[in-house]
């Protein structure tokens, strides 16, 4: 396929379809609406269902229902809508229902600045819903990668039977650039029961990878789904042991899968310092690295593709090799706390934050690097 101009939001819709999503439920909100618009056009062509619900809560509910009935599902929104979805995101985590939730971040809190870019929902993506839930959060930096990440998000949702947050931002969501999409992608199929009803099938009995093979509704199995802590039958249990094991398994099933941690590193071989960033901001950080390298500074580029589970080991290891890190993020300072936790005092961590509706200019990130170098070398 030859290159064509495509928008990040369109690429997410294309990626979701390529990964087998056949049900979208949503409610429009800037800057995510083009995802719904694209799927309204494309979904019927592949025999899928597009439904615009009455609000964001119902949108989340309808995709969970469709997922339980066997469809791969997607919903998309932005800050205010994502806040509304939180209760049912927790339900999806507890009841282990595969679903992908796209958040095209805009400036918050509340209605904020509807059309302006931000990366202020990092910690909401991890902890937006209550309780010790597990979750996967992924973030693309380009239109092409938005496609790839949409495919991965769907595959991870199915593999781990978990909600996955595709955390993009207005920068990537609304950006148009040339892309060539692959003709085929790798697809993780819906998990199916390995035992029959006669053999005493229990929907929430974990497989070797700790993930249960919950049967789809309507396929002859007896299924009970609840947000209450449940045992392997799927029915509520008041037992401390069941509760402890349920919460532990829910977290372990994702924590043990290290292959889902993706970090893009460049210019790290000789790096004395590095810039850590993600999403749309990483494009500017990359240009900042190119610029300071032209001035002879040995600065590396680190971009988190998987935001959560957090790349603790990767960050801890590289913190032992460099003299300092700059964390550039389009918010008041969120990811920086995760980085500092992983660095654990091995090197200084400097925040480069911005929250004024505009994206970074490379010079602003370069200035943070210059300041960090001056501080570390004692000239600050």
């Amino acid at each position: 396929m030859s290159a064509r101009l495509m928008q990040g939001n369109e690429a997410i819709a294309e990626g979701a379809l390529a990964a087998g999503v056949r049900f979208f439920g949503g409610y429009p909100i800037t800057p995510s609406t083009e995802i719904a618009e694209s799927l309204a056009k494309l979904m019927p062509k592949v025999g899928g269902t597009f439904v615009q619900m009455e609000d964001e809560i119902a949108s989340m509910g309808v995709v969970l229902g469709a997922s339980l009935a066997g469809k791969k599902v997607l919903t998309a929104s932005s800050g205010p809508g994502i806040s509304l979805k939180q209760e049912l995101i927790g339900y999806a985590a507890a009841a282990e229902i595969p679903a992908v939730i796209v958040n095209v971040q805009r400036v918050g809190p509340s209605t904020g600045q509807p059309t302006a870019p931000s990366q202020g929902d990092v910690m909401q993506a991890r902890w937006g819903t209550h309780g010790d839930h597990s979750i996967i959060v992924l973030s693309p930096w380009s239109v092409r990668e938005a496609f790839d990440i949409a495919v991965k998000a769907v595959n991870y949702a199915e593999r781990f039977r978990t909600p996955v947050i595709l955390l993009t931002d207005e920068i990537v969501g609304h950006l148009r650039e040339n892309v060539e999409l692959p003709a085929e992608v790798e697809i993780y199929p819906r998990r199916t029961p390995k035992t029959s009803r006669a053999e005493g099938y229990e929907p929430y009995t974990p497989d070797d990878d700790l993930v249960p093979n919950v049967a789809n509704f309507g396929e002859g199995y007896r299924i009970h789904v609840t947000g209450l802590i449940h045992d392997e039958t799927g029915f509520p249990s008041g037992s401390p042991k069941v509760t402890r094991e349920a919460i532990k398994r829910m977290n372990d099933k994702i924590a043990r899968a290290e292959d889902i941690i993706e970090v893009h590193q460049e210019f790290m071989d000789d790096a004395e310092f590095a810039i850590v960033s993600f999403g749309g901001t990483a494009r500017t950080a990359y240009e900042a690295v190119l610029n300071v390298r032209k001035r002879g500074l040995k600065v590396g580029f680190v971009r988190l593709i998987t935001i959560f589970p957090f790349a603790d080991k990767v960050i801890r290891k590289l913190a032992g090799k460099v003299k300092g890190l700059v964390v550039a993020e389009l918010n008041f300072g969120q990811l920086v706390n995760e980085v500092e936790r992983a660095v654990a005092g091995q090197c200084p961590v400097k925040l480069c934050a911005k929250y004024d509706m505009t994206i970074f200019e490379p010079e602003e990130i370069e200035q943070s690097i210059d300041e960090l170098i001056a501080e570390v070398n004692g000239n600050g």
Partner: protein, 173 residues
């Protein structure tokens, strides 16, 4: 060779659509292109701006720093967006909608909206007239390429009028 453009005006004038079509034309000629936009929460009437970067190399930072070309379709946009123009760049103004020229060396004034209204009966075609002007002035893409890109993007029953609009702009400078 990197070229940077900024198309500005008010919501509803179609500057974002024009920028998308220009970027599509560049991509169809095998170039790298990124197009971004910024606008207010209003559907119509608020300030609207779209930026296009065209290059042979991959483009990372998506925002225009020193534009080589600025199109301004309102006085407000002209006053706001000419400041960081490349000194050798060109400022293209809608002759009727921008009565006062900003203090800049290379200005091209074209009655963009007036041409659309007088020749096609609708201000709606002003963005395509502007696109004709931009292609002529910037020489960034072939006229034949932009014709194809416009024809692909607009509603089928309006292709003929849009081709006229494009030609009007192209011939106006």
């Amino acid at each position: 060779m990197r070229k940077q453009l900024r198309l500005s005006g008010s919501g509803g004038q179609g500057v974002i659509t024009a920028a998308i079509i220009l970027a599509e034309a560049a991509v169809s000629e095998g170039k790298q292109a990124v197009q971004s936009q910024s606008y207010g929460p209003e559907a119509r009437g608020g300030a609207s701006k779209s930026e296009v970067i065209i290059d042979d190399e991959r483009i990372y930072h998506p925002h225009v720093k020193t534009p080589d070309f600025v199109l301004a379709m309102t006085q407000k946009a002209a006053d706001k967006y000419f400041h960081d123009l490349n000194p050798d760049g060109v400022l293209i103004l809608d002759d009727d909608l921008v009565p006062n020229s900003p203090d800049f060396k290379n200005i091209i004034r074209v009655p963009i909206t007036k041409l659309a209204v007088e020749k096609l009966g609708k201000a709606l075609f002003a963005n395509i007239v502007a696109l004709g002007v931009i292609v002529k002035v910037t020489k960034l893409v072939d006229f034949e390429t932009i014709k194809k890109s416009v024809a692909t993007r607009v509603p089928p029953h309006t292709v003929e009028q849009n081709m006229t609009a494009l030609q009007l702009g192209f011939d106006a400078v």
